[in-house]
Amino acid sequence: MRPLAGRRILDLSAQAAQSPHGLAAAMAGRLAAAFGAEVYRPDGPRAPKGALGRFLDAGKRIGPAPAAVDAAMGDSGALAGVSAPVILRFSVFGPGQDPPMSEFGLLALSGLLDIVGEAEGSPWPLAGHQPAYAAGLAGLAALLAALRAGGEERIEVSLFDVTCWLNWKVAAAMLVLGRIPRRGGARADWFTLPAADGHIALVYQEKDWPALREMLGLSDPRFDTRAGRLALRREFEAAIRPWFAARTREEITREAQARRIPIGPVRHPAELLSDPQYLARGFLGPGGMPALPFLVDGVRPHG
């Protein structure tokens, strides 16, 4: 599937004044290239280096762009004076609102930092470049819609709005229910636990509890209700830790999945390079390069 074949796109990510804007534009450009566009990425001070560069520049033409392009993407400064039928502009809060910002700052301002972590401990930022990459995905969706519609369009993507959009449950709980979700709060019964060879993610729904209780061999009636497990979180965790610590991630996952409990192993990206599922579906190419994360009629799209 190469729906953007024949389209020329100017990727001004390396000219961005701030890192989040550059990374967002780079991701949108990366995916546009994977969808078949000729993506031109002129060199600049924010050009990604090392593994980041190999990932984000894949499929792009590094250097000057032809005079006429179908679309251009970047921040306000990079796009000043640029002419293209479709303009995709990234900002912090909206057009022209670009105070100093980082992805860490975006997570903090959106509440998506505060909600991640254990109640007693610090909040923790999502790894990698999630706020910027998510903004790149939002920009890509709007860019494709605009190119398909034809004509001129100016797309505005606010990095802050996208990060808040990802964190909608916190906003909705506050605005609709008047309840403030707290990190490690009343709904925090999913967490990681040490296994014999790493960690697993304990994830389950109430309907899974009888199967989970049976798997763990628990008989303490204090843990029979969700309210009880949440109220006695530390005691509950202490009661179940030995079962997990005595087994490997694979053993735990096998036992849980046999009972249809959505527990899974914590895997490092290095382990994913030899992951059987990824190998079977041809997700990772040479050098660990990920393909587009979908198949079309059973075939992995090039790009």
Binding site: S110, W124, R154, I155, R187, R260, R267, P290
Partner: protein, 331 residues
């Protein structure tokens, strides 16, 4: 553009909402025996129309038409085939195999409706040895590599949990793009497509540089607050060159830039609903309407599909179309 939305919870349903925002007409199809699980909520009152009152469901599914149709019944399956004949896009995120049980096997649909775009959003994808692995969003953070790099350098890996379920959120953005890409491809070729989207693969894709670094023999450690000296002190997040308050939900809701933004918008009746993560200058986007009651559009949707009043009445009489779930809220 007509979308049939078999999406549940966030991943499928919010993808269809984005397509709605971009101009599509979306009909959400739910069975009376198996409505979207988002309709079940912690304060559901069995004495009331609890299925129409779920804040999570209503927030996500605003503006869609609602058809309550039993896809387990052969008569419901026949109706679905008529709807598909007029549809451009089918969005689904059922457990693998369920679609086929409803006579909606993607390969069959591709043959019968060659212009149809079928977007299957699943945790692992349709193929592979782990295709049947049961996962929620936070399971995929673990299996996709995100959790291993999130959290304290010397402590346990961290998952986002029920209040975020991060992969379920971000997949909606990518799935929308993939569906529009397939539409563009159809514009050129006349051919539809079956998009088999793996949420786990997307989670890993969004760590692409980490996969490459690992393959080059330089796997990243867990950086905690970040690799560039980021830290948190006294409720503030600091990074080289800036700082910001670490907001909770309450301070977020009060923030002027949040109120002026597009992450949460208002339905015409004033209800806060899921927003739109971009703006288009030539076509201001807005929320079309509030969430419709279950089955509120049964008759109009079925009429448009060519069913007669007698046929519709017979389906209602048989309970194949309905306006309420067959069971009460789970206790």
């Amino acid at each position: 553009m007509r979308v049939l939305d078999l999406g549940w919870l966030t991943a499928g349903a919010a993808t269809s909402t984005l397509l709605l925002d971009l101009g599509a007409e979306v009909v959400k199809v739910e069975g009376p025996g198996a409505p979207d699980p988002f309709r079940n909520w912690e304060n559901a009152d069995p004495e009331r129309e609890w299925w129409n009152e779920s804040p999570w469901f209503n927030f996500t599914n605003r503006g869609k038409r609602s058809l309550c149709l039993d896809l387990k019944d052969p008569r419901g399956q026949a109706v679905m085939q008529r709807l598909l004949a007029r549809a451009d896009i089918l969005v689904e995120n059922y457990r693998r195999g369920v679609l086929a049980e409803f006579g909606l096997d993607p390969a069959l649909l591709r043959r019968r409706f060659p212009r149809l775009i079928i977007a299957s959003i699943s945790s692992q994808g349709e193929t592979g040895p782990e295709r049947d692995m049961v996962s929620f969003g936070s399971t995929l953070e673990a299996t996709g590599g995100l959790a291993a790099l999130t959290g304290p350098p010397e402590g346990p890996p961290i998952i986002t949990g029920r209040d975020v379920n991060y992969p379920d959120q971000v997949v909606c953005l990518f799935a929308t793009a993939a569906i529009i890409a397939a539409l563009m491809e159809r514009d050129r070729s006349g051919e539809g497509a079956h998009i088999d989207l793996s949420q786990r693969e997307l989670t890993s894709f969004l760590l692409g540089e980490e996969l490459i670094a690992a393959a080059e023999g330089h796997p990243s450690p867990r950086h905690g607050y970040g690799p560039n000296g980021e830290t948190i002190r006294d409720g503030m997040a600091y990074w080289p060159g800036g700082s910001a308050p670490v907001r909770d939900g309450e301070s977020l809701a009060r923030a002027p830039e949040f109120q002026a933004g597009t992450a949460v918008l208002r339905a015409p009746d004033g209800t806060p609903v899921k927003g739109i993560p971009f703006r288009l200058q030539s076509r201001p986007l807005s929320v079309r309407g509030p969430c419709r009651p279950l089955g509120a559009d049964n008759r109009s949707v079925l009429r448009e599909a060519g069913l007669t009043e007698e046929e519709i009445a017979a389906l209602e009489e048989a309970g194949v179309v309905a306006t309420r779930p067959r069971r009460g809220p789970p206790r």
